[in-house]
Symmetry: C2
Subunit: 560 residues, 2 copies
């Protein structure tokens, strides 16, 4: 396919997965890293790897002499050497050394982004203890104190909650041995990430926006696609792509972002390489971030970045202690989990917090995904607060709305049915005629909030079900409510006779029980648990009648 | 996960993909094969592979001394040595040497299957030229003459169409230097294959039945799942599992079958190892055949064999000549094909007919799959006859049924909507009143066959939707069909006014378009792709009206 030889600075798990992707394309990769058996070297037997530090100029030069293109799997490399090689035009380097230089220094990176009008959290340089006071005056407590360089996976961050914390913070961060800066404390509601890939000739594609959960500043869990409204996700993608455009060079970029309560999105940091939040792409996307990194730096066509499954998650397997067996307990669980794929990195030594592997889980729906990942997450931490059972329980699947509280008696049996089937639902008043804007908002947001079905009850000139159906892509079930005149036929016709293009699933007049049952059936098509409950319900129903048959036979019709 | 070391006899592409799967589980594999850089050795740098023939007893013994379990990636190994090692209980061997011995000799294999009541094509031993005449008398012309041993990838088969061909056939097959047998000529309508995996403790799981297309007796194309009716596919799976049960040992077995015109299924041959027809499982299934082979021989839990995508194909990349660039033209096409993943095997030398790699393509539907694979197939052969675009998906998500063919004009727009949204569906006649038992069968089976929604259209005393709803736990959408009297109100009431307990989602009279759209919405709640398509559909619908607004503004109402 391509005969150019690639040299990679760094031979950890990211390098390993790059090698895996390259091997499938018969592309040769040579690794520069100190351990003779570093994860990436283990699965590439045809190259003569270089055993040495990726900060060592001589070793980098040696690598450059043996390959056609240099790339990195870690940004903390000797960038001066790369700049020299680049300026002497001795070798192609992706990403551009200038990009690596900016990324290495988080303060420089934030300044660069800020100057290019990419939204970032407020930050300020910290040169001495006095400047901390200035930062506090500006941003108040709590204040985030951060190392500018060599900060990753939770190292190099410290929160200052009050003046008493300052000394401790400075000590932890090396008392100005490493340069520091401070950031305004910004409590986000969610962390988002986007992998962006750009080719030599500028073609750019983005992977889906994912949500990430960090624990002690290390990536713990990734959910793809992110469960948030599409406007926010669209903005996240836009910001990520705009941010990547400010950097030179091609390849894959990981953009990590904070989503604030008010919908504001800040770029937290960028990695100019494949990223932990993109591991899931191996099993869940049409082309993985690793293959696309290889393709893009070789100027080959970039593959599709779309999901090929409805939902996916990635769980990091971090060392619990130096006991490997203990650490691998989530993997043992994953062996019996449908849709789970285990990736171990071949690291010889297990240490607390060390990235030993990851597990990708794919599923047909987000709810199935949660069912699959929860037992694995529990093996990591029995009381894992990132576990999504509570969320999927609270998260209603069905929304019941009615035009007026006078419809409640008619809709109550529907709510009771959902409750008896253990379906999470919400119930509210939304009137098409009296609260039209509320109706628009409700219908527009419904699928974003995770609803799967809307049940709308209305009487007379019953517009609510049809209007909601006109505003949402979700299925809407309409319950015609019987009024004082016309026996509910007015309402039935108003709901059922929708024009071509916008359907409403209409059920019998006043029969909201059936609306609930129909909603359960719709869920049951995809959630086996509800399918089974519906079968049991139908059996019970049948048995109730059969019992009456028996009684009738026994007692006779005269005495029944 | 598991510290047992595996030794593999053979280091070709199957071995390579075994190594890939094993590496992800940190399981060590040592390869025995002659080339120092055989495909499997290239991606495993931590083992001290053995360079030698997998038929050489000393080399096999050397391998056995260095590992805990032996397995094979090719069955043409020295089975006597394996039997000795096994009988001396010196090492675990999977599959059982006895199984390998049977499989090696196709005549023995067929005899074994036949004795175990597995359906195979009629066959007869050929010991000399005279016995060919006996075979002709028994089976007539054309007659298949086959080598018993060392026959694979098209080698060792010859068709005898008339007496004149006999000398040529015998010459081609080595004039009795290798033992021969003959088979009745059996023109199949389709070739099917099933990968079956069995663990040490007897747990057995099957991958989906796939259809395979061979060219010059070499696997060319695999389509998963096979596009045929579910009863036939169910039988194929049953026969494959029954056949595997007749063999000792665990691991993955590839079962190739012929489907005849009359629905009869014959087992053609069995491979006691991962198989070309299972390559697609890497990208398309929850756990690949390679990982499951590893897991099963290590007595680890077998992973799910289900598809994780709706449809997949595998195209073999065979050497067109010794020109690698020419051979790789389908891969170049695949680089720009969504859902395509290229696997090259690292073979140094390209030769005509040599397996150089394969391409897997995944898709959201069978029709999308054909769209994606056709341009790739064309790069292999401009006039490839194995391509058809007209086949419909037999794994439908929606079932459309109607009481009578006279309802078809009313239901057609529904089918067209589903087609335009790329929803796999089936359409048939099921009458509540004229085919009540067919209706019961249809409704009872629907969810088992994977349907998610049933759309039922009926007129007059329209019982079909409600009766089907009474028999299935799935959501049923009812389409009232307008008759000659009563304007369809009879049908509407018959469908919508269901009793408490059994709901039917009723839509407007004769408006089957809306039934299709409602089904898409129900799928879209759980399958993001359909949700997005529904949003786009609604936007287009809105824009169409807005265009008319503009036109009306421009032209004025008098001239509109």
């Amino acid at each position: 396919m391509n005969s150019k030889r690639i040299g990679v600075l760094g031979g950890g798990q990211l390098g390993r997965m790059l090698v895996e992707a390259a091997s499938r394309l018969n592309i040769s990769i040579t690794i520069l890293d100190s351990p003779v058996d570093s994860p990436a070297k283990q699965i590439q037997a045809t190259s003569r790897h270089i055993h040495g530090d990726f900060k060592d100029p001589l070793k980098i030069q040696e690598l450059a002499q043996n390959v056609d293109i240099l790339t990195i799997e870690i940004e903390h490399v000797n960038v001066e050497t790369l700049e020299t090689l680049f300026s002497e035009k001795r070798i192609e380097i992706h990403p551009h050394p200038f990009t690596i230089r900016i990324i290495q220094d988080k303060f420089l990176q934030k300044t660069h982004l800020s100057q290019n009008e990419i939204p970032v959290v407020d930050f300020i340089d910290i040169s001495d203890r006095d400047s901390i006071n200035i930062a506090v005056k500006k941003f108040g407590y709590p204040l985030m104190l951060k190392s500018k360089t060599l900060a990753y996976d939770g190292r190099g961050n410290h929160i200052i909650k009050s003046e008493d914390d300052i000394t401790k913070a400075l000590e932890t961060l090396g008392n100005f041995k490493n340069p520091l800066y401070a950031e305004r404390w910004s409590p986000f509601v969610k962390e988002l990430a986007v992998m962006v890939v750009r080719s030599v000739d500028g073609v750019m594609k983005s992977y889906p926006v994912v949500e990430t959960v960090h624990k002690e500043n290390i990536c713990h869990l990734v959910i793809a696609p992110a469960q948030h409204d599409s406007i926010i996700l669209g903005r996240a993608k836009e910001i990520a792509e705009k941010a990547v455009l400010t950097f030179k060079g091609c390849g894959v970029f990981g953009v990590e972002m904070f989503l604030m309560k008010d919908g504001q999105i800040y770029v937290n940091e960028i990695a100019p390489r494949p990223h932990n939040s993109g591991h899931y792409t191996i099993e869940a996307c049409q082309t993985s971030q690793y293959e696309n990194h290889i393709r893009s730096i070789l100027n080959m066509p970039i593959g599709s970045t779309s999901l090929k499954v409805p939902a996916a998650a990635m769980i990091n397997v971090l060392g619990k202690s130096d006991n490997l067996q203990e650490t691998l307990s989530p993997c043992v669980e994953a062996l019996t989990t449908s849709g789970a794929t285990i990736h171990l990195y071949g690291k010889r030594e297990c240490r607390k917090g060390r990235k030993m592997g990851h597990i990708t889980i794919v599923a047909d729906s987000i709810s199935q995904l949660y069912e699959r990942i929860n037992p694995i997450l529990k093996m990591i931490d029995e009381n894992d607060s990132s576990i999504t059972t509570t969320r999927s329980n609270i998260q209603p699947l069905v929304g019941i709305i009615m035009g007026s509280d006078s419809d409640l008696p008619t809709l109550k049996p529907c709510a009771e049915i959902l409750k008896s089937f253990d379906v999470p639902f919400e119930l509210s008043i939304v009137s098409a005629h009296r609260t039209p804007m509320r109706m628009v908002q409700y219908a527009k947001d419904a699928h974003v909030r995770g609803l799967k079905v809307i049940i709308a009850g209305a009487g007379g000139a019953a517009h609510l079900p049809g209007m909601v159906a006109a505003l949402t892509p979700l299925p809407v079930i309409g319950v015609p409510v019987k009024g004082k005149t016309l026996d509910g036929v007015d309402s039935l016709y108003s709901i059922v006779q929708m024009p071509r293009g916008i359907p409403v699933a209409t059920i019998a007049i006043n029969n909201s029980t059936n609306a609930g049952l129909l909603a359960v059936r719709q869920l049951g098509s995809f959630i086996p648990n509800y399918l089974q409950k519906m079968q049991e319900f139908m059996e019970r129903q049948e048995n109730e009648v059969l019992t009456k048959v028996e009684k009738l036979d026994k007692v006779g019709w005269e005495n029944y």
